[in-house]
């Protein structure tokens, strides 16, 4: 299923964009930086063409996708959680080629401040787009009565939390995100630049729980998994 979205649905939050540039939410932001933010979001609105593709996948089939080329960490959250899933869907989402070009152009022409603001805004919008695809999948499951009331959905991506980036190859072979213009490089990186892919896991909320005690957790300082689990419990 291919989904098109309007930019207003993925407009980045100002605090989040400024946060990516190390500007805390309590900061007294100077006018010239707010003006940069306004210009960046305007450029993003003009360049972004947000699209996503979703495809249901059976647990056994996903086991094969997830196995990838055998480079995953021995234990991973996705590996522990997906066998308990009620439903799974592969997804890919992109802001399109033009946004990446605008960022590159900004750096090439030495508009470093604007380019980095645009990059931060685009990253936020790409995340918002993936979130929107996730919500859309959850809504469909609920409308069809395929999810328990206490169930929830969370997404995971190759490259993070022990799921090796080479896992993209089988994910792409199954999902075919080329349909919305996303391709994979030899090193398994996605083009356009601002694209997100992965699996959406629908399961009872309790089935999503895990402790961050995997080998790779020791080196991680982002703790995003904790925020995501907290948000899931609060839904």
């Amino acid at each position: 299923m291919i989904l098109d979205f309007a930019f207003r649905e993925i407009t980045p939050r100002r605090e989040a964009v400024l946060g990516q540039l190390g500007i805390p939410p309590v900061a007294d932001v100077p006018e010239h930086i707010d003006a940069l933010y306004a210009t960046a979001t305007q450029l993003l609105a003009e360049s972004a063409a947000p699209r996503a593709v979703l495809a249901d996948i059976a647990i056994d089939d996903f086991a094969d996708v997830f196995r990838g080329e055998g480079h995953n960490a021995p234990r991973t959250p996705v590996g522990d959680i997906f066998p308990r899933a009620e439903h799974l869907a592969l997804f890919a989402a992109t802001l399109g080629e033009a946004t990446g070009r605008a960022i590159t152009y900004g750096f090439e022409t030495r508009d470093f401040a604007l380019a980095s603001m645009l990059d931060a805004a685009a990253s936020e919008s790409a995340d918002a787009l993936a979130e929107l695809a996730e919500r859309r999948y959850e809504s469909q499951l609920r409308e069809r009565g395929w999810m328990e009331p206490d169930g929830g959905v969370l997404r995971y991506s190759p490259g993070y939390c022990g799921w090796h980036v080479t896992g993209q190859r089988r994910l792409f072979a199954h999902l075919r995100p080329e349909r919305i213009g996303i391709t994979l490089t030899e090193s398994c990186l996605m083009q356009p630049l601002k694209s997100v892919s992965g699996v959406i896991v629908a399961a009872a909320t309790a089935a999503h729980e895990f402790a961050p005690t995997y080998d790779f957790c020791e080196a991680c300082e982002t703790f995003e998994c904790r925020d995501r689990l907290r948000a899931l419990r609060a839904r």
């Binding site: 540039l21 190390g22 500007i23 900061a27 932001v29 100077p30 010239h32 930086i33 940069l36 750096f107 030495r110 508009d111 470093f112 401040a113 980095s116 603001m117 990059d119 931060a120 190759p158 490259g159 993070y160 939390c161 022990g162 799921w163 090796h164 980036v165 490089t185 090193s187 398994c188 990186l189 996605m190 630049l193 790779f216 080196a219 991680c220 300082e221 982002t222």
Partner: protein, 212 residues
């Protein structure tokens, strides 16, 4: 106001047109290019770096200043090269193989150039062999590596190992950074240094290169 201080102030304020005009004026007045660079442009960037470090200004201010610094450098660079003036050091930077997140690496490059270093930016998804070979052939003193994915962090170790195998440890030093990278991880893989943000990376490179 001193003419070089005026250049520094233009850099600090991020006024790139003014920085270029003032730089051209002092070139025309016969001031040595190295003096203009050190006491005008770099002096301005040093103030910017310090203000950023103590949270007086934000990253976009640093980038506006860098643009002003570059505007002046464009005029000075041919003169410095013609005069045989060497840079403060040559640095190879890149985002490691399998990773395309290069905004942090770009910022480090911008700020290193702003601090007077020669920077060879290999871009993203860079193989360890290419980093080491480029540093060796170009005579670089530091390789700066960035990773955002936890699954690509081990590539940094490969670079450190390749340098050791080629007996280049110590000659070419390694600096690592990126959101999931920590000082502990840098130590574990045998990297020479860790930079927690772009401004800090510049300080660390200065230390590694033994310049002020």
């Amino acid at each position: 106001m001193d003419r070089l201080t005026a250049i520094a102030n233009a850099v600090i304020a991020g006024r790139h047109t003014e920085a270029a005009e003032l730089t051209q004026r002092v070139i025309d007045q016969g001031i040595a290019p190295q003096t203009i660079l050190d006491d005008g442009l770099i002096a301005g960037m040093n103030v910017v770096g310090e203000r950023f470090r103590v949270h007086e200004i934000f990253l976009p201010d640093v980038l506006l200043a860098a643009k002003a610094m570059y505007a002046g450098m464009d005029l000075l660079k041919p003169l410095l090269e013609a005069g045989g003036v060497t840079s403060r050091g040559k640095i190879v930077i890149g985002t490691v193989r399998g990773d395309l997140h290069d905004i942090g690496k770009n910022l480090v490059g911008i700020m290193l150039r702003g601090a007077g270093f020669d920077v060879i930016d290999l871009g993203h998804d860079v193989a360890p062999e290419r980093m080491v070979e480029t540093a060796r052939t170009e005579g670089a003193t530091v390789i700066g590596m960035s990773a955002l994915l936890t699954t690509t962090m081990p590539v940094m170790q490969e670079v450190v190992d390749l340098l050791r195998d080629a007996r280049l440890t110590g000659t070419i030093k390694t600096l690592v950074g990126g959101a999931p990278v920590t000082k502990t991880y840098a130590r574990e893989i045998g990297a020479d240094a860790f930079g927690f943000d772009a401004a800090n990376a510049v300080d660390v490179v200065k230390q590694l290169c033994g310049v002020r």
